[in-house]
């Protein structure tokens, strides 16, 4: 890591990453809806108004498909889907086109593109603006999936994602946009497939992604003196750094996975599968996945909060896991 750092918000860290990659590589451009007038991206728009930022009509399927074609022919698009929920209307270019072209062409075409989208709930926007759909993309061979939890990871992962030779789904969290943190100066890259231990601990491993990392860290703080919690953030779900998770489990033997998304069929379940296959003997008790309830998200605040995983649930789950057997 660079010796010096600068403070950035999570949102600005992403913009800085894209701006730096655009300056470094002529072929990088951004494309999406409403990306010109958004306040925190003003500089980006000004700097690249002529070529580098393409503000589109509301045509997710069209412009994402266009980005796939551009990626096949020498460019590196960053396609911006305004809400993760809107991925439903451009599943074809992502799942059937971007993810498949490399293999279907016998490796003769590559699709170096980033599909960047804010996911997550907690903003009182009801069922169609509150989803965490990462598991769909984890389930789709040919895609890589990253979910940064800090400004430093947000920047480093975006820069790495842009340099990948295949499609990367980059899911930022809408509640993290304003959080601030130190970001290393210079050409800061975080590799895909490298987890980070966000807090060291001895008794239980909590694997958490995106916004859930912050809830897990709060829970760990609450449990100080009672349970020593290690928090591991995979940072990318595909590829998944199972080694770092197993290493943590070889110390703690106890596992809790926390995510924003509903638990059923989720990315957390996939992490548990890999732990069971590769590290069952490390486990000293039952594992759990804590996530959202398996329901469409209701609007009203008390209802929405009840449907989302919270810090006290994590605290309780950790206690249960540590007291079992």
């Amino acid at each position: 890591m660079s010796a010096t750092t600068h403070e950035l918000s999570y949102a600005d860290a992403i913009s800085e990453a894209i701006r730096e990659e655009m300056a470094r590589d002529e072929t990088v451009f951004s494309i999406g809806e409403d990306i010109g007038g958004v306040k925190d991206r003003k500089n980006l728009w000004d700097q690249f108004r002529e070529r580098r930022v393409w503000q589109t009509p509301i045509s997710e399927s069209g412009f994402t498909g266009l980005a796939v074609g551009a990626a096949m022919t020498g460019l590196r698009p960053v396609a911006v889907i305004m809400y993760c929920d809107f991925m439903t209307v451009c599943m074809d270019p992502i799942v059937n086109q971007a993810a498949k072209v490399h293999l279907m062409s016998g490796g003769r075409f590559k699709v170096p593109m980033v599909i960047r989208t804010p996911g997550g709930a907690g903003t009182r926007e009801a069922g169609q603006h509150s989803q965490s759909l990462e598991s769909w993309f984890v389930h789709t061979p040919g895609l890589k999936v990253v979910m940064p939890s800090s400004p430093s990871d947000a920047k480093g992962l975006m820069k790495s994602a842009i340099r990948e030779d295949g499609p990367v789904v980059y899911i930022q969290h809408r509640l993290l946009g304003g959080i601030k943190g130190e970001v290393p100066d210079g050409d800061w890259l975080v590799p895909l497939g490298k987890a980070e231990v966000k807090r060291k601990g001895e008794d239980v491993t909590v694997v958490a992604t995106s916004f859930a990392v912050h809830k897990a860290l709060e829970a760990a703080e609450e449990l100080v003196g009672e349970v020593s919690v290690e928090v591991v953030d995979p940072r990318s779900l595909v590829p998944l750094d199972i080694e770092t998770i197993l290493e943590s489990l070889s110390k703690t033997g106890r596992l809790l996975v926390v995510q924003d998304a509903p638990t059923r069929g989720g990315a957390g379940a996939e992490i548990v599968r890999q732990v069971c296959e590769h590290g069952f003997d490390l486990l000293r008790g039952p594992v759990r996945v804590l996530g959202g309830l398996n329901t469409p998200m209701p609007f009203s605040a008390p209802l929405e909060d009840r449907c989302l995983v919270n810090t006290s649930q994590i605290v309780e789950a950790v206690r249960e896991i540590c007291n079992s057997r």
């Binding site: 072929t27 045509s59 412009f63 796939v68 551009a70 460019l75 490796g107 003769r108 075409f109 497939g193």
Partner: protein, 337 residues
């Protein structure tokens, strides 16, 4: 007015029409459905060079396919549909590598990973056929966008059908292409059927070309059986695109002489077929070449024989090629299978 192609190019156009026709006829005879009818088991059939899976033939479309690609340069882009053998061959694809791909062999264009619907070749600007009806339309706009961005004079053609013109991607892409004056040609082969559904019950207006007006794009109807008419029409659209004047929507009225899939049974409408067969694009072009003195009938039968032999050689090449090895499958790096 487009300059008429020189003699060699005209002969090459006819050669490619034959190449498509003979290729597709050969593919049909090698199709596994035919083999199943003969009672071969899977292993025996595969060893004989059987073509498995889906096979969508476009016999009858050759005038549009070749007429369009004759107006393009090698480095121009083409995206294609599930019915795309002709687009690839018209753009210059080698029948050997095509046949090997259909047979699932490692020497095929996509190393046996794509098959009939997914012929890719970056050197020929072939951005692949597409198994998703309408999926290829924005991809072509992406190729055109890329050309504009990189400052080249390349253009892109999206081949699609009356069926795909009813997909949302058609609307979204035409709007963007018009807004950004992308050098793209939307080439709709209206063969009157989407699978077996007649376009009369799926299109709200008779001419798809008229939809161009809704996007400020010129919409042109052309006789798809008349290769020279298609060539003229596409050449004008290409000039327009290269001059930075934006996209054109071309609706080529054509007809598929065979059912939707090679495994399909009866044709939709035998009476209608009979009428269209009278306007077989290859026969029409042969007459045109004869009348103008570009070729004699001896020249033409010689050319047919040459291409027929070539397709026999393509079959032999495919059969002699090895099946791909799993270890060599081109999977993305850094992700375990």
């Amino acid at each position: 007015m487009t300059m008429e192609p020189d003699h060699d190019k005209l002969v090459e156009m006819l050669r490619r029409m034959h190449r498509i026709r003979f290729f597709e006829q050969k593919a049909k005879t090698l199709y596994d459905y035919e083999y199943r009818l003969r009672g071969d088991d899977e292993e025996t059939a595969r060893a004989k060079g059987v073509i498995e899976g889906a096979l969508h033939l476009a016999i009858g479309h050759e005038g549009t396919e070749v007429g369009t690609c004759a107006a393009l340069n090698d480095d121009d882009y083409v995206t294609s549909s599930h019915r795309g053998h002709g687009h690839a061959i018209a753009k210059g694809a080698d029948s050997k590598l095509m046949m090997a791909e259909l047979m699932g062999r490692e020497t095929g264009y996509s190393r046996g990973c794509g098959g009939s619907m997914h012929i890719f070749d970056p050197d020929l600007g072939l951005m692949g056929g597409n198994g998703i009806v309408g999926g290829q339309i924005p991809l072509a706009a992406g190729g055109a966008f890329s050309a504009l961005y990189r400052g080249t004079k390349q253009v892109a053609v999206a081949f699609f059908s009356d069926g795909a013109s009813n997909q949302g991607t058609f609307h979204e892409t035409l709007n963007m292409a018009s807004l950004w004056r992308l050098p793209v040609i939307f080439l709709c082969e209206n063969n009157l059927y989407a699978a077996s559904t007649p376009s009369t019950i799926t299109l709200s207006i008779p001419d798809i070309a008229d939809r161009g007006a809704g996007y400020g794009i010129p919409g042109v109807v052309v006789d798809g059986q008349d290769i020279m008419a298609v060539f003229e029409c596409v050449s004008a659209a290409v000039s327009r695109a290269r001059a930075g004047e934006g996209p054109t929507l071309i609706e080529s009225k054509t007809y598929r002489f065979l059912p939707h899939t090679a495994g399909g049974s009866e044709h939709n409408n035998p009476g209608e077929l009979e009428e269209w067969l009278k306007r077989d694009p290859i026969l029409l072009f042969e007459s045109w070449l004869l009348e103008r003195g570009h070729m004699t009938s001896d020249d033409q039968s010689g050319l047919r024989q040459e291409v027929e032999d070539e397709i026999e050689a393509a079959e032999a090449f495919g059969k002699a090629s090895l099946f791909p090895k799993f270890e060599n499958m081109p999977t993305p790096s850094g992700v375990e299978l």
